[in-house]
């Protein structure tokens, strides 16, 4: 039933933007800076990625690498000030969202692109019931009556496998457990049957067993609905099972993009290599855990050349002078390292 509504709401393709790339959501050369009292922090420095229907893109990076800020800029929920988008395009069905009217953009939220957040307890409004917050979308966005909206909201709670959905409808967020809260959050984000779902560290606040359940649920819902899923995480373990492609971010840039198998088998960027190396391994018990030395750069003062060069074990003089662009290597992957070819071709 909800499928019918989507085809009414969104018309892919013909939009007259002159960029018929056929991509569902494309971010191109996005730039964001935070203007603070202490100076300007360049948080996103030319991020390009895309996601298609039915595809899962994992955006991987440490805290502060800009993965969440990119998502907020895409969603149009950046805190402004201090955050400002200073360049680039975010195209949904080929149409740039950054230049469209606020009203047009609002309509895309929830219906075209929806988002779930890391901490469902603070992301849900504490003074309204879970049911109210889901049904609200049917009432406000779809113009449904109270009873019908309630019925649909209970269906949504059922779909995310919340037991006794009918009874839970009138519970408040604080009456839910962490995992159930994130399920409710997912139900809320999927209410309007979005084409793209951005999940910003959806399992970080949960304990490990619940994490797996939530990831399974997300993967299942994504398959059923053929959504494009952007999964933001810092957890390599989380992405391995569900992602089709992985984009690794560092200091506000994509440093490597590849499909999951290639990325794990042959990283084409020293940073990715470092990340994979620092996963604790069962067969190396008793040894010290490997880490990437140093700290991410201060975004108010990014070092010249490759932003990773101060921490890079392979750094050469060229790395301190030239910023390596994100270049295609082989057929289906890209890396922003001067020595990407060497990395991939070594044994």
């Amino acid at each position: 039933m909800s499928d019918i509504l989507v085809t009414e709401q969104s018309q892919p393709g013909a939009d007259g933007s002159g960029r018929p790339s056929g991509r569902l959501l494309e971010v191109e050369d996005l730039r964001v800076e935070f203007r603070t009292r202490d100076g300007v922090a360049k948080v996103i420095n030319g991020v390009t990625y895309h996601v298609d229907a039915g595809e899962t893109l994992a955006v991987l990076g440490e805290s502060g690498s800009g993965k969440s800020v990119t998502a907020q800029a895409v969603m149009g929920i950046l805190d402004t000030p201090p955050g400002f988008v200073t360049g680039g395009e975010v195209r949904f069905h080929g149409k740039d969202m950054l230049t469209m009217s606020a009203e047009e953009r609002r309509r895309i939220r929830g219906e075209g692109i929806a988002m779930i957040f890391q901490d469902a307890l603070s992301a849900l409004n504490p003074v309204f019931t879970i049911g109210f917050q889901i049904a609200e979308q049917f009432r406000i966005r779809r113009g449904l009556g109270r009873a019908e909206a309630k019925k649909r909201a209970i269906e949504m709670l059922d779909q995310v496998k919340i037991p006794n959905a009918k009874g839970r409808f009138s519970n408040y967020p604080h009456q839910f457990s962490g995992g159930m809260r994130q399920r409710a959050m997912i139900a809320m984000s999927l209410a309007l049957d979005p084409e793209v779902l951005i999940a910003d560290e959806p399992t970080t606040a949960l304990d490990v067993t619940v994490q797996a359940q939530i990831m399974d649920l997300l993967a299942e819902l994504q398959r059923e609905r053929q959504m494009g899923l952007i999964l933001i995480t810092h957890d390599l373990g989380v992405v391995a099972d569900v992602a089709d492609r992985i984009a690794v971010m560092y200091a506000g840039r994509i440093v490597e993009e590849a499909d999951v198998f290639e990325l794990y088998a042959k990283p084409a960027h020293p940073y990715t290599l470092g990340l994979i190396d620092s996963i604790p391994r069962m067969d190396e018990r008793g040894q010290q855990l490997r880490t990437i030395k140093g700290l991410p750069p201060n975004l108010m003062n990014i070092p010249p050349g490759c932003p990773f060069n101060p921490r890079c074990p392979m750094a050469q003089p060229v790395c301190r002078e030239k910023v390596p662009p994100l270049l295609q290597i082989g057929s289906n992957r890209a890396s922003a390292c001067h020595f990407a070819e060497e990395l991939v071709n070594r044994d």
């Binding site: 929920i77 609002r106 939220r109 957040f117 409004n125």
Partner: protein
């Protein structure tokens, strides 16, 4: 919830007895002769004094007096003044006026204070924000009698926009100015609390969620943001209502409103102990009940608060 309510109501009993006794004792220990000046220039005749002393048990100990008073009170008898007027009548005449004034003042506080707070909280550091910050500072800093006399003189006397005093009919339009004067300081606090609360919650995660859901901005602000920001404001307004219902000696005096504040002041000056105690007893009760109401309202606004 039911048990909580019962417990709160039971708590009122010791508080009620304690406060009434305290007031009774205070009035009892104030030095002075209630019959001084009662008979013009001359001293009152002994027969009169003896008669009154016996009638009002003035020669008895405070315990006897208090016990008699409480006994009568529970029978609904507030006692009589030395002029043989029922204290219950005095309260019944004055209290509605005080309530009217209180309601007008509270409405002004809520409407003006809240709107100013919300507007400035959403857009900080603008012209309006600075205007509100400075003017609220004025209202908080100036004593109520200064604001009262200045506005009465300007609006009532110099420009003649309103009547300088309130007639005995207590028309709503007449009460706007006294209501504003009475509520001015609290209105300023309401504006400031609302402003801080809105500004704080504006960046809250759940507001961002509401925006991400594609809700129109007026719903994000008017429903999601406002409901959360109202919690501290309602607490403030609720406690203030209790205070406003206690009468406003200064404001009632300036605008010659025959309210409970003036009645109690008159009773204190003329040493009508029965009147003073009875009025204060009523005020204490009202205040306690208002407090209970605020606590219940608090739970209604914030579902995370549950009483058991």
């Amino acid at each position: 919830m039911g048990r909580y309510l019962l417990r709160r109501l039971l708590q009122l009993v010791p508080v009620f007895i304690g406060t009434t006794f305290l007031i009774y004792w205070l009035v009892w220990s104030v030095p002075g002769d209630p019959f001084a000046g009662k008979c013009g220039d001359r001293r009152c005749p002994d027969t009169y004094i003896n008669f009154m002393t016996e009638k009002y048990q003035l020669d008895q100990s405070i315990w006897v007096q208090y016990a008699t008073y409480m006994k009568n009170l529970f029978q609904g008898d507030f006692g009589v003044t030395y002029n043989n007027r029922a204290v219950g009548d005095i309260i019944a005449t004055a209290y509605p006026n005080t309530l009217k004034l209180a309601v007008v003042a509270l409405a002004i506080e809520a409407i003006i204070g809240l709107s100013a707070g919300v507007l400035t909280g959403l857009r900080r550091n603008g012209f309006l924000d600075n205007l509100v910050l400075v003017s609220t500072l004025f209202l908080i800093a100036l004593p109520v009698f200064v604001i009262g006399f200045i506005l009465q003189w300007l609006l009532g006397v110099k420009w003649g926009i309103v009547d300088p005093t309130v007639s005995s009919e207590m028309r709503f339009s007449e009460l706007l100015l006294p209501g504003f004067v009475l509520g001015s300081a609290s209105m300023a606090y309401v504006a400031r609390v609302a402003r801080t609360s809105i500004a704080e919650n504006r960046r809250a995660d759940y507001v961002r969620t509401a925006i991400a859901k594609g809700l129109p901005m007026r719903r994000v602000v008017g429903v999601h943001l406002l409901r959360n920001s109202l919690i501290p404001v309602v607490t403030l307004l609720g406690t203030d209502l209790g205070a406003l219902m206690g009468g406003a000696i200064v404001t009632e005096g300036i605008f010659s409103i025959n309210g409970i504040g003036r009645a109690v002041l008159r009773a204190i000056v003329t040493k009508e102990s029965a009147t003073v105690v009875s009025i204060v007893v009523v005020l204490v009760l009202v205040y306690l009940l208002m407090n209970l109401l605020v606590d219940l309202l608090y739970a209604a606004l914030d579902p995370r608060i549950r009483y058991e």
